[in-house]
């Protein structure tokens, strides 16, 4: 039984279609990447999963069950636009939000203290949110999303606006949650985070899912078209090797080549070896970033 199943959901706002026939599944203990340009329909999809909006067609199931009030308490949500009550103490509002999710006051209090300790900020318990820095507010917001141990967690741009240290901290926390069995729907524009965390992804473009599946498979579909080669000295004549489209010389030595033929890599290596010893040679996989730009960009008329 999948923790979250989304089947062919369609949502129209008036004449505008926000989400058109999207399906995906998230297993227990999996992070699922939901990607797309701004306005592609990600937030609408998340709102439907959260039960804020009902899909016009299609079905969303939580561990096999339809949406109901009981499902509410097993959902966690970190919205893209962050916000807390600025004038209310951290403890008061987190416990309030946890209680709304059906937790008892005592459990919520315990969990909150545990999380604050984990993020090494136990002194925030009695602070007002407006007294905290933006990054720390975000930590508190993250706690608000996970305090009730949700089975399905929806993270919309979870790491935006954080410094690298805090990104690592939250990333490792997300991984721990995943290992603990939480199913996570993850949306971001930072492709390196997706590559690191997600097993399966959907790229949405203009309300339609345009690319879906495990990241590995998706990458195989895209040709390897970048080659990096570096030696002690200069390598001349690279642009004349058959199949090379473009040569880019890096500042710190080495060349990055664009090729249109998978066999070109071998020819480049031989060409370079003929001129001396090679320090580095690599045929690069396409990055998710490239795939994203290609998928979404190509569809831009």
């Amino acid at each position: 039984m999948k923790a979250l199943q989304v089947e062919r959901i369609i949502k129209n706002f008036g004449d505008k279609t926000a989400v058109n026939g999207l399906s995906f599944e998230v297993s227990q203990g999996e992070i699922y990447g939901l990607l797309g340009a701004n306005g592609a329909g990600k937030t609408t999809t998340m709102r439907m999963i959260l039960g804020l909006i009902l899909p016009d067609e299609g079905d969303i199931r939580y561990a096999g069950k339809a949406y109901s009030n009981e499902q509410l308490s097993m959902l966690g949500y970190l919205p893209e636009e962050r916000g807390m009550y600025p004038k209310i103490k951290v403890s008061d509002q987190i416990i309030y939000l946890a209680q709304l999710r059906g937790m008892s006051r005592k459990d919520a209090d315990q969990n909150l203290k545990r999380w604050l300790d984990k993020f090494q900020v136990p002194e925030y318990y009695n602070k007002k949110v407006e007294e905290l820095s933006k990054g720390n507010q975000q930590k508190i917001q993250f706690i608000a999303a996970v305090i009730h141990n949700p089975r399905v967690l929806i993270l919309d741009e979870a790491f935006s606006g954080l410094d690298p240290v805090n990104v690592e901290l939250l990333k490792s926390t997300v991984k721990e949650l995943r290992d603990g069995g939480t199913s996570i729907v993850f949306s971001t524009h930072r492709m390196e985070h997706v590559e690191e965390l997600c097993r399966n992804i959907t790229i949405m473009h203009k309300s339609n899912p345009v690319l879906q599946g495990p990241i590995k498979e998706i990458k195989k579909k895209f040709p390897q078209e970048r080659v990096v080669v570096a030696s002690e000295g200069d390598i001349s004549g690279l642009e004349n090797v058959a199949g090379v489209v473009n040569v880019l010389r890096h500042e710190h030595g080495g060349y990055e080549l664009k090729v249109d033929d998978p066999q070109a890599g071998q020819r480049i290596l031989q060409h370079a070896l003929a001129q001396g010893p090679i320090k580095r040679f690599e045929v690069l996989e396409p990055t998710l970033n490239e795939i994203f730009i290609k998928t979404v960009g190509e569809n831009h008329e």
């Binding site: 008036g14 039960g51 909006i53 959902l75 916000g83 600025p86 004038k87 999303a145």
Partner: protein, 425 residues
């Protein structure tokens, strides 16, 4: 899951009660009301100890009238004016006034030719043009002297004079058709007082609490806490939790304030002063109090749901004032029509407006208190009011449901209807 309603309610109440603004406002108002509550006593104390105004006159000018004035004030238990003789002309009087020996002076004109029955013109001069109390006292005194003089000249007997000065008696009584005996003047006065107080309280409560509810919802929206809250608890419960929470806080505040006033009014030192003013709290009709509470509740919830709905469609607190303006105008119109109705409870305007649900809490109560509406009028008005509360509550909940998720510019009615269809609420 009714727990969540209580959670929202508790959270709202707790935060309100803890907020400094609320505590300070309540304390200030309570202190003010304690002062007001003791006002009758204070006025009595301060007024009683008031010294008579010293009024100078030029010695030798119109001795007969001056003597009359002296006699007049000598007979009063608390003379407001003390006459001081100053030697010399008007210039000396002016000097005395400047030195502060007197607060003002009287001068009479002395025409060279005195026609028959002539009474000299008097001028009262003082430092401030506004010396209403003294000048009206002097006017009354001079009037009396003039009357006495004319009566004396006419040769009336003392008996006739006495009869002439006895005031006519006119007692007003309101006819009641439901009670066997009509309301006494005192009960009527208390009814007017209670109606007045109730209208002001309702108006203030609706304005203050309504604004509070709307502001809080908009603040939640603009700080985006709303997104988390609506995913945790149904909007309907959240809205009612907030309205009820604010209601409890408003009630608490009201009880504190009214309590402060009533306790002080009832305390022994105020008893005599109140009696003197003809205020007797025990003469308030208990059924009127029941109606007051009922209409207060109805008015509160009617407007609170409206404010909640408006608060939910606004994304930024800056835009809120403009958005709630129509509701504010509605309460203002209700309030002013009610103020007009205090003196004309049976005016056709009031009779029509009493069925308009937005005005009914003000006007129907006013009519019950001050007039004798037929039973069906009350039933019809309360019925319309009750149905309206349910309808507006239902509609507000729907608007709220879609409003809380709509960001950006304030949506038009058309957009809200469209969104309602899209969200299937």
């Amino acid at each position: 899951m009714n727990n969540s309603l209580w959670t929202v309610l508790g959270f709202t109440v707790r935060n309100k009660l803890r907020s400094k603004a609320f505590i300070i406002l309540t304390v200030i108002l309570a202190v003010l009301l304690v002062v007001v509550g003791n006002l009758p006593y204070l006025i009595d104390k301060l007024g009683g100890g008031d010294k008579a105004t010293k009024v100078g006159y030029a010695e030798g000018q119109q001795p007969a009238i001056v003597q009359g004035l002296k006699d007049y004030y000598a007979h009063l238990p608390e003379p407001a004016v003390e006459l001081i003789a100053v030697k010399g002309s008007e210039q000396q009087l002016k000097d005395a006034l400047e030195k502060g020996d007197i607060s003002g002076y009287l001068a009479f004109d002395e025409p060279s030719e005195i026609p028959a029955g002539y009474f000299p013109k008097a001028t009262y001069s003082s430092k401030s043009a506004f010396s209403g109390g003294t000048s009206s006292s002097l006017t009354a005194a001079l009037q009396k002297i003039k009357t006495d003089k004319i009566i004396k000249d006419a040769g009336m007997t003392e008996e006739q004079k006495r009869q002439l000065s006895t005031p006519v008696s006119l007692a007003t009584q309101k006819v009641s058709f439901s009670n066997e005996k009509g309301k006494t003047e005192e009960e009527q006065g208390m009814a007017i007082g209670l109606t007045y107080v109730m209208i002001i309280l309702l108006f203030m409560s609706v304005m203050i609490s309504g604004q509070l509810i709307a502001t809080e919802i908009t603040a939640e929206k603009s700080s985006r806490v709303m997104e988390i809250i609506v995913t945790s608890v149904s909007p309907l419960k959240q809205m009612w939790g907030k309205i009820l929470g604010t209601f409890i806080v408003a009630m608490l505040q009201l009880v504190i304030l009214v309590g402060a006033l009533v306790i002080n009014l009832l305390s022994p030192q105020n008893k005599d002063s109140l009696d003197k003013l003809g205020i007797d709290l025990s003469s308030i009709d208990p059924t009127l109090v029941v109606y007051a509470i009922g209409f207060y509740l109805a008015g509160f919830f009617l407007y609170a749901t409206l404010f909640a709905a408006v608060g939910s469609i606004v994304s930024r607190t800056e835009d809120l004032g403009q958005a709630v303006l129509p509701i504010t105008m509605l309460t203002l119109v209700g309030f002013y029509v009610a103020m007009f109705g205090l003196t004309h409870p049976d005016h056709i305007l009031i009779q029509v407006c009493q069925y308009v649900p937005f005005f009914a809490p003000f006007l129907m109560f006013l009519r019950i208190g001050l007039s004798e509406p037929a039973w069906w009028e009350i039933v019809l008005s309360v019925g319309i009011l009750f149905v309206s509360i349910l309808a507006i509550g239902w509609l507000s909940a729907k608007i709220y449901r879609v409003g809380v998720l709509m960001y950006g510019k304030r949506p038009s009615v058309k957009e809200i209807v469209k969104a309602m269809r899209a969200y299937k609420v």
